[in-house]
Symmetry: C2
Subunit: 329 residues, 2 copies
Amino acid sequence: MTSIDAIRGKKVLVTGGLGFIGSNLAHRLVGLDADVVLLDSLISEYGGNPYNIRGIENRIRVCIADVRDSGVIAKELSGIDYLFNLAGQTSHLDSMNDPHTDLEINCRAQLSILEACRKHNPTVKIVFASTRQVYGKPLYLPVDEKHLLQPVDVNGINKMAGEWYHILYNNVHDICACSLRLTNTYGPRMRVKDARQTFLGVWLRMIVEGRPFEVWGGEQLRDFTYVDDAVNALLMAATSSHSRGKVYNLGGECVISLKDLAELAVKVSGTGEYRISSFPPARKRIDIGDYYACYGLIQEELGWQPLVPLAEGLRRSLDYYRSDISHYI
Amino acid sequence: MTSIDAIRGKKVLVTGGLGFIGSNLAHRLVGLDADVVLLDSLISEYGGNPYNIRGIENRIRVCIADVRDSGVIAKELSGIDYLFNLAGQTSHLDSMNDPHTDLEINCRAQLSILEACRKHNPTVKIVFASTRQVYGKPLYLPVDEKHLLQPVDVNGINKMAGEWYHILYNNVHDICACSLRLTNTYGPRMRVKDARQTFLGVWLRMIVEGRPFEVWGGEQLRDFTYVDDAVNALLMAATSSHSRGKVYNLGGECVISLKDLAELAVKVSGTGEYRISSFPPARKRIDIGDYYACYGLIQEELGWQPLVPLAEGLRRSLDYYRSDISHYI
C-alpha cells in the first residue's frame, strides 16, 4: 500500500502539464500542497490547454517549453523530487504520417530527460506515462504485463522505446523510475477538438453540441480509465517503494464494446444519437481489435484499482463539457 | 525452402557494407553475380574496413556515406532490388556512454531508410540485422522468438525500435521486410581492434599476437554463428517468400561456456593462453548472463541451420588473422 501524502510539500515537475492527464494531476497536486511546475509546449495539435488549470493558475508555475529542448529540461529538473513524465505525441495516425516528429518527442526527448536526471538530479523519482499501444494487437485477453510487445504503429514503437529507457536508467543508472501503461483514459480536460487523444472525447463533444457521432465498427471491446483513477495510479506509483523499475498496466472497471459505450453515453446524457460506420482504411491498418487489460499487478503491489464506474465518469465528463465546451473547440 | 540464386544479377545495396558481416555478404554476392553497392561510413569506432573487400573492389561500387544522411540514402535506394540493412552502432558500452548517437544510428536512421523506401522504392525487399540484445537477460533457455523483449542497454532498446519499424512498414506500408536476430557472429573480417563488435575477436587477435587474453567470468553460456552461416541466413531471408514481416533468431551449432570456448580456441590454435578475471563493473551491469537461441523457426520456414562447426570456424578465423592481422589493428 502507498501513502500519497508523501508528496505533500515536495517539488513536482509535470511534463505535458497543461494537457489532459497532466492538468488533472496538477489539480490534485495543488490539493496536496505540492510545489508544482507544469511544463508544456502548447503545440496546437497536442492536448495542452491553458484553460485546464483555471482555478489553480496562481498556485503553480507554468513553463511553456518543449521536452525536445534539452537545455530547458535540465534547468527545470534541478531540485525536483518527483517527475511525472507525461509529455508525448499521442496520435497514432499522426505518428504514421510524420514518424520523425513522433520519434523526436517520444524517443529522443525521453532519453534527454533521463540523461539530464542522471547528470543533474539522480535522486528524482520518475513516473512515465506509457500506453497499451505498446502491446499492439492482443494475442490473448485480458492483456497482462507478460504479453509480448508487438506495436502496430510508429507511436507504439517509440513509446515502447521511451518506456524502456526509463526502466533501463532505473536498473543501470540508479534513477528511480517506473512506467504505467495507460489504456483509454477519459474525463474532464481531455482534448475533444479531434480524435488525436481519444475518440471518446469527440463523441462527448458531439453529444454536448447536439450532433450525431460516428462509431467505427462498434464491436471492439475496450476498457476505460476515468482520469481521477489514472491520477491516483500516478501518485501511488510515485510514492510507493514497490514501484521501482516496474511496469504496470492500468485498466477499467468494466469491459464494453464501442457500440454499448455509445449507447451508455447517450443514455447517461439523456440526449444524443450515433451511427455505426465502417473503419476508415488508414485507421483500420493500425487498429488493434479487442483490447482490455489485466490490472492485477498494480492492484496487488500498489493497491490501485479503478474506482469510478463508467456511467459516473461519463456523467462527470458530460457535465464538464456542457458548461465549458467553448474552451475546448 | 529458398532459392538464393534469385539474387543473381539483381541490384543489391548493403548498408554497413565494409563492415564484418556486410563485407562477407559482399564477397558472396559478387560470387552470385549480383550488382552490388556497399554503403559505409567508415567511422573509426565501427566495423568498416576497406581491406575487407580486397579482391572484389573492382566488381562492386562503394559509397562512403552515413546512414544518418537521408539524402544519400534516398538516392542510393533508387532502383535497388534488395537492401541488406546491416549498418549499426554495435557496442553495448558505447550506447550507455553516448545514448544519443546510438539512437541516431539505430533508431532515427532506420526510420529514414524505411521512409525513403516507402517514397522512392516501395518494391524493395529488406533484410534487417537485429540482435539477441533485444531480449535482455533470458527468462528461459533456449530463447525463442516468443520471449519477451526486455533489453538491458540503450543499444538493445534502439535495435528493438529499429527492428519494429521494419516490421511495421512491412505490415502497414507494404514494404517487404524481415528481421534476423543475430547472436554472436564471428569469423574473418570482424573487428579485432577492441571488443566493440565481439569479445571473441579480441581473443583471437591476442592468440595470433602471442599474448594472453582475458576471459570475464567464464561460466556464461553462449552460442556462436560463423559468418558464412549468417550470410546464408541473410540471403535465404531475402529470397524467400515466407519471410515477409517475420522475425527470426539465428543460433549456433553448439552451446558453450566462455571458459570452454577459450580452451577450444587455444586448442584449435595450438598456442595461446588466457586468464579468468572478474567482470568490469560497467559491463557487469549490462551483462545478460547465459544466452542461447532456439533457431527452430528459421529452420522450419526457410530451411536455415548453422553448418560450420565451432572448431572449424575458429580455425578459419585464426588462419585469416594469422595472415592478415596487420590490416585489422
